[in-house]
């Protein structure tokens, strides 16, 4: 694995080279495209003057807080719905009706209620992160080896001990997948909200670059978001490996 990290760069490098050559040969007048070298220059400049880093901080604060709130809520609801079937049945219609409502559709209302700023963005990110975590957690509950739940019952574990000692560890791999997905969603939603209304962070940077007719800068922001997302995911993967510990590695090794 360690010796082959470069493999991940092969495909993107090829794509970038193709794009550069294509742009140089054909030339482009598009206001949405720019040559990779120009994007790199814009990226470097924006990083050096600190504006992009400040924007990154703003976006990460909103995305992180939203992810934490929405994720924990989704986790709790997922466990509740997964373990207590009556609640799941009761809330089925409500949940399934609210879930698909795109947060962008209610942005004007969110703006009215919260105004510009972190609160609005965090609320919307939390709303968007809630569902994936809930859905995966609920489905993870269903996938727990029934024998383990019987062990929990036989030992008369308290509801809390049952969750913390059996349910949560058993579902942990899936829950982590849910959080990795939700982390990306958090970033996407935060940036979207920023592009649409909130004058903050990376999305606002994209907006300003776009309206300022600077495609290279706009794409630089996009690339940077990719880099931030990628780092976030790598971090979460590491956390996942640490959390699952040796038991998981043994499992995989077999």
């Amino acid at each position: 694995m360690n010796s082959s990290w470069w493999k991940g760069l092969v495909v993107p490098a090829a794509l970038i080279a193709t794009a550069e050559v294509a742009m140089r040969i054909n030339g482009s007048t598009s206001m949405s495209l720019a040559a990779p070298s120009d994007i790199a220059a814009a990226l470097a400049a924006a990083l050096l003057d600190g504006s992009m880093l400040a924007a990154t901080r703003d976006t990460l604060i909103s995305a992180g807080a939203g992810l934490a709130i929405g994720g924990l809520l989704g986790l709790a609801l997922g466990i509740l719905f997964g373990l207590v079937r009556p609640v799941d049945h009761l809330m089925e219609v409500t949940v399934e009706v609210i879930r698909p409502v795109p947060s962008v559709a209610v942005l004007p209302i969110a703006l009215l209620v919260f105004g510009f700023g972190y609160t609005m963005e965090i609320a919307i990110v939390a709303f968007s992160c809630l569902w994936p975590v809930m859905i995966y957690t609920r489905s993870a509950m269903a996938g727990i080896e029934p024998r383990l739940m019987e062990v929990a019952r036989a030992l008369r574990l308290s509801p809390w001990a049952r969750i913390s000692k059996i349910v949560f560890p058993a579902a942990l791999p899936r829950i982590l997948v849910a959080f990795r997905l939700a982390a990306a969603i958090a970033l996407v939603v935060a940036v979207t909200v920023e592009i649409a209304i909130n004058p903050l962070g990376l999305g606002y940077g994209i907006l300003v670059a776009q309206q300022g007719l600077q495609p290279a800068l706009m794409l630089a922001y996009l690339v940077w978001i990719g880099i931030v997302g990628w780092s976030l995911n790598t971090l979460l993967s590491l956390a996942q490996q640490r959390l699952l510990g040796r038991a998981a590695r043994v499992e995989v090794a077999r």
Partner: protein
Amino acid sequence: MMQTQLQQGGSAPVISFDRVTLAFGDRTVINELSLDVAGGQIVCIIGPSGCGKTTALRMAGGLIRPNGGSVRLLGETLTAPRRDVAIVFQDYGKALLPWRTAAANVSLALEAAGVPRSERPARIRLLLAKVGLTGHEDKYPTEMSGGMQQRIQIARCLAQEPAVLLMDEPFGALDAMTRQGLQDEMLSIVAETGTTVFFVTHDLEEAVYLGDRVIGLLANPGRIGIDLSVDLPRPRNQLETREMPEFLRLRRQLFDFIEKAEG
């Protein structure tokens, strides 16, 4: 059918099946089973594969509830598992927490019982020693052989210090010697603590060697086909007991039963 319902003198029944019927879907697996197990007794259940031994044990553990009749434990009708009842599951591989080491798996029962953290390590060490797993504390279940996994589960059940021990082919994956060692270990624990044991096995000799009573189930639907009381002296001894004429007689009788049951 030789239905010799024995009434144990003196002590009130600890486990009692009263005309218990159980069906999965429209298939009746257990039919009108009645059975009383007296306190401190070891009752061994034998019977052909798929006759309902595990099912009966699961009902005694409160994991499934009968469709008809009732299962009572210490006088109370069972509706859910109780902590003073320990269950050794047949599929040991699935009953262990794969993310916990051997020691931590045993610890689970101590945690459930609220044993203070400081006392746990010593007790875990003792329990693992009892099942012959000293030195394997830090292995994960997937790093252990089948027999070792089975023994972790037994250690976890012993950690519960149960009043009733329900064991479903607990020694099935063990070699002869380890098995004999654990048989004697169990007998001595029961003698010390007065634990009542409900023991499912397919090894007829084991049933006779351990039991105060051996019950043979018949299949389709599961019902009692034979009920023998074992009058071998205690403490039992792996060499002497197994050579006693009474032992051989009982074994023969059970063998004939199983032979007829299958045929």
